[in-house]
Symmetry: C2
Subunit: 266 residues, 2 copies
């Protein structure tokens, strides 16, 4: 066996296996500003890179590029922090105006001990309600999450369909932390044209025992896979996933949010 692996010629003789899944960066996307046609920018960049879309492709957009295109930006100079924001900002050594924006974007503050973790207006539990101040042109501007990321995904998918005449699913991703694991991973905050939760429960296994594997959050796994290619400070904010086989059902990413009644860690 080891011999066959060492042999270059036998490897060259046998047909190369095809990958099941391929991921492409879309290079050369310009800095996006409010009002820019994001799909036009992405489609042009793809064409320049000789990437031609196909039916069943999935495009994963980093949240920030969607927020910039939609103009969900706040100028901090326009924000007057509340006494609560001033208090927390003092403790966390943050800009009280940014904390005030986090408050406005939040339904509920989950923790404010070392970091500010809140439930966003959408129901996502994440740090700073997704309010971010890096890589935004202007000294004084923060980005918010899109107002309705599932609606944003739906619009992007429709515009892609119109422009490319291909059925392209869309995921909008953001990097969230996890309570018991260090580091961030990309998750889906918006989706269109792709299942978000996949029921893996099947018939009982050979021993007649029910399968315990239940529901896989595939939209989050797709976002995570794309995140591997987005790189430093979203250098590649759009990634194409090709080859993933799925039923073309459209589920909102909001389905992934665990209902409050089932939340054991409120």
């Amino acid at each position: 066996m080891a011999k066959r692996f060492k042999s270059r010629s036998s490897s060259a003789d046998s047909p190369a296996a095809s990958p099941e899944l391929r991921l492409f960066r879309i290079p050369g996307i310009p800095e996006i500003r409010p009002g820019n046609d994001l799909v036009k920018c992405v489609a042009s960049a793809a064409t320049r890179a000789a990437i031609h879309f196909e039916d069943g492709d999935i495009l994963v957009f980093a949240q920030k590029i969607v927020s910039k295109a939609e103009g969900t930006l706040v100028r901090l100079a326009s924000v007057r922090p509340s006494p609560e924001a001033l208090a927390i900002a003092g403790r966390l050594k943050k800009d009280p105006r940014a904390i005030e924006v986090v408050f406005r974007e939040s339904r509920r503050i989950v923790r404010s001990d070392h970091v500010l973790i809140s439930e966003t207006r959408h129901g996502f539990v994440c740090a700073n309600a997704g309010v971010d101040h890096s890589n935004v042109p202007g000294n004084d501007v923060v980005t918010l999450l899109p107002l309705n990321p599932d609606r944003s995904a739906k619009k992007l998918a429709a515009a892609l369909r119109k422009r490319t005449h291909k059925r392209i699913a869309v995921i909008i991703s953001d990097t969230f932390g996890r309570p018991w694991r260090l580091g961030l991973t990309n998750v889906a905050i918006g989706a269109s044209g792709v299942p978000v939760l996949l029921d893996l429960r099947g018939s009982p296994d050979r021993q007649g025992k029910p399968l315990t594997a239940t529901i896989l959050a595939v939209a989050d796994e797709l976002a995570a896979a794309a995140g591997l290619l987005m790189g430093k400070s979203e250098g590649f904010p759009v990634v194409l996933i090709r080859g993933y086989r799925f039923k073309p059902v459209s589920e909102p990413a909001a389905r992934i949010i665990r209902p409050a009644a089932e939340d054991l860690f409120r």
Copy 2:
């Protein structure tokens, strides 16, 4: 622009872009039993599928196949449940012997309201301490997580090196739930030859603001990407990831575990 997309001939003329990342299933891996040489089985299956390993490849192994090969199995007939296990089993409608095994695998029970969430002997917080009873031959057997998944990954990587003469990184993945998001995603419980936490912090951005994007849990994103191909009840327990660029530093997946002192949700 739309015209160029519609034109089949211009697409055929231009060179096709190469994917940055490719994922392959390793088909035809047989049912693994305690004591089987897992690397030999996987390498043989890869050869039959015309998949030839390359330096820099990453092999993601589903936890269960590693546990089976290592024989970390428990026969429930040998387990005498404690009164605590009997009480919780009654409430959760579970086999008290399986609950007893979860207790033995746990440092600490985190929640036992609707599901049993515990901190495993390794420090992972997950449902049922990773104890699983599906897809195990025998009516009465559960699988445990590997005793030391990082050591298992290291051994697999060394055996792969010996057999294939290629530098192949290894991740051992399992599906964990998340407190605020429904569904499971694959995460890394063991790793060898690949970074697990990638520091994305860079120099201040153009506005002189520090980048807030911090540490990406790349081993978890690699596990999640592979999870997309593992399919129903781990039909494909080993997935090859090719094209991911990384410094060949070896970090244990245990580094991802958040220290207790930083855990806001104990």
